[in-house]
């Protein structure tokens, strides 16, 4: 969707600009608001002095030795956090396990980093078992000197590390016009964020002597059972693509492409070919099934648009979100993520009344290119029904659209990819938070 089709922020008024306020002013507002609910002892903690004086209890853990550490270990989460797992969708039952996916529990994520144990998965033929000592990446086709690279070769190249989100093009596809999913893990969990480390793809292409005036596309293929492959424009390969072997400080996990994958910042996840086996330079795209029958967008005129690579500007509120229950009126922090495959996030607006009015959320540093950005908004909930949503703006000026906005330029029929619409949650009279997309 081009920017000219897009709505602007000029419609509904921005009633409250908090983003520019200094943190201390915002904090004071929160503390004032906390004091207002102090009778209910909701958000500031309960009194333990004065008229309500209590003895400080010494907990049992202070009275006995703890568990000793093991000599060599890779650590794991607390047993009390066992509910925080990635999960298959419950909505879209998949009877053929080899092509499957699991989703990140975004409602439990703090900060912008997704821990490696919770990064979403998408496989077309299961997870291959690849010995890095035997793995080779080939670079051939329209190059002066075809080359092959072992993992040792790749690890000796100058590396770079970048923070970027990764999102599946199918994220949200069950929730365009019906409330199919309950939680934000189900509606948006094909989304994760990590620091990716590897070699700029341009270093390898230059080493092979690519001529970018002739070799315009690169076929990238995985070493998995489906030999998943995509055609990538040479400009993106030379500017931003990375040959990635590590994420969040350690080597890739098997399900995320171990020992090496392509990574293309900001583009739909399926082009970032996992278990990368070869790159072949050619003068036109290959028109594979993965770029004709899949990952294409139906248009109102009955045709389908090919090569919708960039994941456009999007945001979602993760707290409160579907499946949570509000614990009585008072102060709540509305929190969520905003991201854009085309640049940095410049603003996020929040609505509490289903889009009638908007107010600006605070954005948290660091705000990085093609990376999750966390927004927060301090809300005094009056205990009544509400319909909350976020709307992100990126550095190109693009404003996150509604489903109705998107439908002006695309046909929303069947399982449609590239759903970046504003996503509302309703607060029901009993405090339950529900999917309100339709």
């Amino acid at each position: 969707m081009s920017n000219k089709d897009m709505p602007t922020r000029s419609g509904p008024p921005i009633v409250d600009r908090m983003r520019e306020a200094p943190p201390s002013a915002d904090r004071r507002q929160f503390l004032r608001s906390s004091i207002a609910v102090a009778g209910a002892a909701v958000a500031t903690g309960a009194s333990i002095g004065g008229a309500n004086a209590q003895k400080l209890e010494i907990p049992p853990s202070n009275k006995e030795p703890g568990r000793i550490l093991e000599p060599k270990v890779y650590g794991l989460p607390s047993k009390y956090e066992a509910h925080v797992k990635r999960n298959r969708t419950d909505v879209f039952v998949n009877r053929q396990n080899l092509s499957d996916w699991s989703m990140t529990p975004l409602q439990h994520q703090h900060g912008i980093i997704t821990p490696n144990g919770l990064i979403f998965e998408r496989h077309h033929a299961g997870i291959p078992d690849i010995d890095p000592a035997k793995h080779v990446v080939a670079l051939h086709g329209m190059v002066k000197q075809p080359l092959k690279f072992t993992m040792d070769d790749l690890l000796r190249y100058p590396a770079t590390s970048k923070f970027h989100f990764i999102e599946c093009s199918g994220n949200g596809l069950t929730d365009w016009k019906k409330n199919a999913s309950k939680t934000v893990q189900q509606t948006h969990g094909l989304l994760s964020c990590a620091q990716w480390t590897g070699v700029p793809a341009s270093y390898l292409l230059e080493a092979a002597g690519v001529d970018v005036s002739k070799g315009k596309w690169v076929l990238c293929e995985g070493a998995d059972g489906s030999a998943h492959a995509r055609s990538i424009p040479i400009e993106k390969m030379m500017s931003e693509a990375m040959i990635v072997y590590a994420m969040n400080g350690e080597m890739l996990r098997p399900e995320n492409g171990y020992p090496v994958r392509l990574f293309i910042p900001g583009w739909e996840g399926n082009v970032s070919i996992k278990w990368l086996r070869r790159m072949k330079v050619g003068d036109q795209p290959w028109h594979l099934r993965s770029e004709t029958a899949r990952y294409t967008d139906p248009m109102p005129n009955g045709k389908w648009r090919q090569f919708s690579f960039a994941m456009e500007c999007k945001s979602v509120i993760t707290r409160p979100s579907g499946g949570m229950k509000m614990q009585g009126k008072g102060h709540y922090e509305i929190e969520g993520f905003a991201w854009s495959g085309n640049g940095k996030i410049t603003a996020v607006d929040i609505t509490l009344d289903g889009g009638k009015t908007w107010r600006e959320a605070r954005l948290e540093d660091p705000i990085l290119d093609k990376c999750l950005t966390r927004f927060r908004y301090s809300w005094d909930w009056d205990g009544g029904p509400a319909k909350i949503a976020s709307r992100a703006v990126d550095s190109t000026g693009y404003v996150q659209p509604t489903v109705a906005d998107i439908e002006k330029s695309r046909a929303i029929v069947g399982f449609v990819q590239h759903h970046n619409a504003i996503f509302p949650w309703s607060i029901e009279p009993d405090g339950e938070v529900k999917n309100a997309i339709a």
Copy 2:
């Protein structure tokens, strides 16, 4: 150590300023250097075309389905990465397991994030098992209104997420004047880096009505078997201290303070009290054993200096580092970390000749306050003996000292804390990389 005691960078000449060069120039230099060694096919990959044309082999993983994903899972590293674990030191044998530590394998870390499974540990009485539903943090002493906070209370406060390193004050204490340790995991592995999420401590102190003109120190105590505690100046509590419940996107691990800890950016790790149970405001420090017999620095006059909180500017080369072996002459990327408890890293110099000459390394974005910064330097190794080291400079102008520099103002006797000296590795004639601190 005050800045006036410190060496400046004006001594040995900086012979090579690469940091300001655009990445493309640097890349070209690397590619030229690669071409120079192309006969040995070392760093650019091996030819698979032309006179040496080979058929592209299809790997077995392309010919069979992979492992199917499990429905609910917390993911783990590849079996081929089982050697990447945190570990007890082999140098300093500890016969009393309740007070113990494990170290981060920095030689295997990519980027600046330490994965949660590899964050170093230091416990004084083992790891307590704390049910977050029962845990309470108390705030009392010289405050208008003593308060207690459940985990639910803390999670409703406005949160903040920050990238910061954490380092044990004892990091490197066995390697001042002898080469006691072999690997960088042993010499520097009481160092990790994460994005920490929690509530600014000032919010809680303000809610309790602290008067900072009277309450000058805060006793912070853990819920572990040792009831580990420290006295923290109120200024730091009000400016930077965080009440942290999450790291790298998920709730803290048990060994890192689950469910809640104090975190003080840039200061020695032992003040960031894990399993935080209470904060008591007073008008002077408590002079606990942990601040009289421990975590103090011997001075040349026989006295001991108390309250050396900040971890001063430091750096280390992680690759190549002790225990590795060079694979023949040619191109190598020298890589490592620089950090400072007093600000941002502004420069890192590299020596290849034991400190006679220095050249400037490239620093990788984002360069964040009190956070690991990765530096890189492209080196054409001639195959001969070398002595390599890094020297960091921070935003206060402080230059990382040598052991001899530090000895001008402190006594280095016994197990001395706060070792931030320049740390050299030798490249032996056979290519082995060894600890060269003495």
